[in-house]
Symmetry: C2
Subunit: 502 residues, 2 copies
């Protein structure tokens, strides 16, 4: 279907142009070309109701003002742009807008770190130690935890706070360990890709002891759903490591417990907020794992797919792509589900790189060959025309996370993000936020701002936003009957949003 429409467009361009000859241009033909281009982009064929057209006219006035600024915000690093973005009228509108689903967010980067510090670290029995490489570790324990190598002795945070004169400063410093967000100049704080990824992994480790404490684990996910819900998102797919969680006495829970907790928490959240649609989980493994060991993980994923059909969405590999193993090294393990007739789906991170022609740069093609349902990032897709065609023809969408790509140093001025070109061609894609707590972003609104203003400027309009939101439901892992329900729920919210913002 998609392909046919595209081919017709190609033929029409060709024949129209052939009639042009050497004469000067015909203004009607020019209009045709301009219309054709407008109709090709994401949202270009969305029809708008009279109310929507009215809102669209308002929005396009706001966009004109946004384009006239001397400091065009998506050209700035998000850390510098954030306060300006947050005060932009477009942001205000995007925040209220029902954005559909967040399809690419990671388990432990969903919740603002402020909540972790102000809520979680104030719970009893929370210990802290300071590592040699200027990070922290936390652990909840009824007694003194076992010493960690390369870490100071464990101190009860409650006691540390009692001895501290300026507790606010202490708490601020704790936050800074768990996020990349900083008021410093980001170019100086994170001068290279290696440095920023190292800090990124450190921040995950700092968070780890807090969020894998079983009672916090449950609350964290609940709080995460709440923060996304408040950002007007109705459904979330979480990339989750499904780690062992622990109790105060050091006893632990296995993967099934973790998965069940996700399922129960999501169900409970929907009960509390019936206009939220739910959450599913994509089980993820770090791409540093030895290929021989991945088989066990894939088997675990297939079992989870059988045991938790409601919540389990599929499988993925995570971690820095340039330094991790390429997908193709895992081909034996990744071929298992198809060979065994499992319906396990893949949602591979691929193409999160600027290093062209390397082995990891090949991951997008391999993800497609392994029949991935979506591609996480696909930042390098534009430089791979065959992979790009396969993605388009098979409607395998990219999960585009603009702020993540900028903070992790793939691109500076977001107008040059490849998604700007992909959106103009109507390539299947959704907007997501990857690790909002790491970047100081909230839910999807900041990323929607960058995408809406940065990836298209005046070429974007309400139809673009509408199709992006609908894409997020259309390309979710939900089965067709549930997609229909989610779409109906979104449509009701959308109509309300349009009416209330005229």
């Amino acid at each position: 279907m998609e392909l046919q429409r595209h081919s017709v467009a190609i033929l029409c361009v060709l024949s129209c142009f052939l009639t042009l000859g050497m004469s000067y241009p015909d203004p009607r033909q020019r209009e045709e070309f301009i219309k054709m281009e407008a109709s090709m982009r994401i949202g270009g064929n969305v029809s708008l109701s009279p109310e929507e057209q009215q809102l669209d006219a308002h929005l396009s006035k706001l966009m004109l003002e946004e384009m006239a600024r001397e400091d065009f915000l998506p050209a700035l690093h998000f850390f510098k742009a954030r306060p300006l973005i947050r005060s932009s009228p477009i942001y205000g509108l995007l925040q209220k807008m029902p954005k559909g689903a967040a399809l690419h967010v990671h388990d432990f980067a969903m919740v603002d770190v402020e909540w972790l510090v102000r809520n979680v670290t104030y719970r009893p029995h929370c210990y802290i130690c300071y590592t040699d490489d200027r990070s922290v570790r936390f652990y909840f324990s009824s007694g003194l935890p076992k010493p960690l190598s390369n870490c100071s002795t464990w101190t009860l945070l409650e006691q540390l706070r009692a001895k501290t004169v300026n507790v606010t400063d202490l708490d601020d410093s704790l936050m800074s360990y768990m996020t990349l967000w900083t008021l410093e100049d980001p170019e100086l704080a994170y001068p290279s890709l290696t440095v920023v990824w190292k800090r990124f992994e450190q921040a995950f480790k700092a968070t780890w002891g807090l969020v894998t404490y079983a009672p916090v684990f449950k609350d964290y996910f609940h709080e995460g759903l709440l923060q996304f819900y408040r950002d007007n998102i109705l459904y979330v797919e979480v990339r989750a490591l499904l780690p062992e969680t622990y109790e105060l006495d050091g006893s632990t829970h296995d993967t099934e417990w973790t998965m069940k907790t996700y399922q129960d928490t999501a169900r409970q959240f929907v009960e509390e907020n019936p206009d939220f649609f739910g959450a599913r989980v994509i089980f993820t493994v770090n791409r540093e794992i030895y290929p021989a060991l991945l088989t066990k993980e894939v088997q675990k994923a297939m079992k989870l797919q059988v045991d938790f059909p409601e919540t389990m969405a599929g499988f993925d590999l995570v971690g820095q792509e340039d330094t991790g193993r390429p997908l193709w090294e895992y081909k034996e393990a990744l071929s298992l589900p198809a060979a065994q007739g499992s319906n396990l789906s893949y949602f591979f991170h691929a193409g999160e790189t600027d290093l062209q022609g390397t082995k990891s740069d090949q991951n997008m093609l391999d993800a497609l060959l392994f029949n991935t349902s979506r591609i996480g990032h696909g930042f390098a897709l534009l430089r791979h025309p065959v992979a790009k065609m396969l993605s388009k023809m098979n409607a395998v969408p990219l999960e585009v996370c603009p702020i993540s790509n900028q903070v992790l140093k793939l691109v500076k001025d977001l107008r040059n993000h490849p998604a700007a070109a992909l959106m103009s061609e109507g390539h299947p894609l959704v907007i997501s936020s990857d690790d909002p707590s790491m970047f100081g972003a909230s839910g999807l609104s900041d990323d929607f701002y960058e995408a809406f203003v940065g990836f298209g400027g005046l070429s974007n309009h309400l139809g673009t936003l509408k199709e992006l939101a609908m894409n997020s439901i259309r390309y979710s892992s939900l089965p067709p009957n549930l997609q229909e329900k989610a779409m109906a729920l979104w449509q009701r919210k959308w109509n309300k949003f349009v009416t209330e913002n005229l």
Copy 2:
């Protein structure tokens, strides 16, 4: 031809993929896809002789080393990267390589400013004044020139130097007025697009009085050809304003004189250096001109085309695109040549913008509708799929100037320059340098470095370079018989280069 090959590729991808089904990937099919992608990129179908293969193997080792650097050079601002680029073995090779033609360079930004200061400003009768906005103006005159508004009184440079203790410092400061090149942090020196363009125009004005002095005008062009020749370029197409030039006594020469001087100088240069092929001129007008006044300029261009068929290549509009008039406002004047049966060709600057959806963002489509022979920059082409298809199907190449786009703040990390994607698709393009003296670049070697390393990394190889060089002759304005001759000359130089660098 081009189109057919492309369509076949599309069909093959589709059918190959349809046989894939739900099973795990077939390694042979994977290889097919990888090969197909490799063959689509620029140079992907160039066959290499055994000697070329040997050089290619060497080159790919050098590229591996270049990719392993912590500070990947095309990701840095050229002003910071230049010393590192110049000491890279890849640069050494690219300098020696016969690069074909430079198709996008401007009349008064061809020659290193050092030559202007050390040679031209030391000639007798050279006056200088300092403007209120911290620039300079020069003028050659037998007596004191007429005072300029907003400029100090004229001083004879000879006298100024006689009174100056540190003449080197003075000369360095004179150079700095005529180039954007600086040792300062470029982000601080040129914080915004507006600032950098203002400085750019100031530098042109500072140069103006030197290069429009008739004796210097001739020498400047000769020196420009020499610098390009030394950078192993065999043919140049100059965007030229064809200004009035003046003599010591204030008398002036008209456009015909200027054009004839270009022609004579080019002929003379070829006589002196028989392995240089020559130069042609693209007459340019600033896009600030009132539409009603453009008619006269287009008529002038048509007359030049008749009077100087050997040297006159065509017509173009120049200046900052975002703030200038869009092409479409000039449609009456630009339709004249076709209506009158003139064979005047167009070589429009278009798409040198990051502001999507604005009027000037439409210039690429309009340039194509006006049957442009090439597109200057086309930086925004990737965000305009219809214009992109027209450019591809009609083999209208882009003149890609990486350093110019970076210094003029369209893109920071050159890996995200749209040409990286276009090269991977085999889009017709050539590499050029726009205003090398403004950017501290020389000839084409710096831009070739950025393109070769930045636009493709390990995906690029000797075939890429070979096709880029051949493209520059193939897409020149030369008639077929001369193209053939130029190509034969280039091929001899190329063979010599390959043999000498094994």
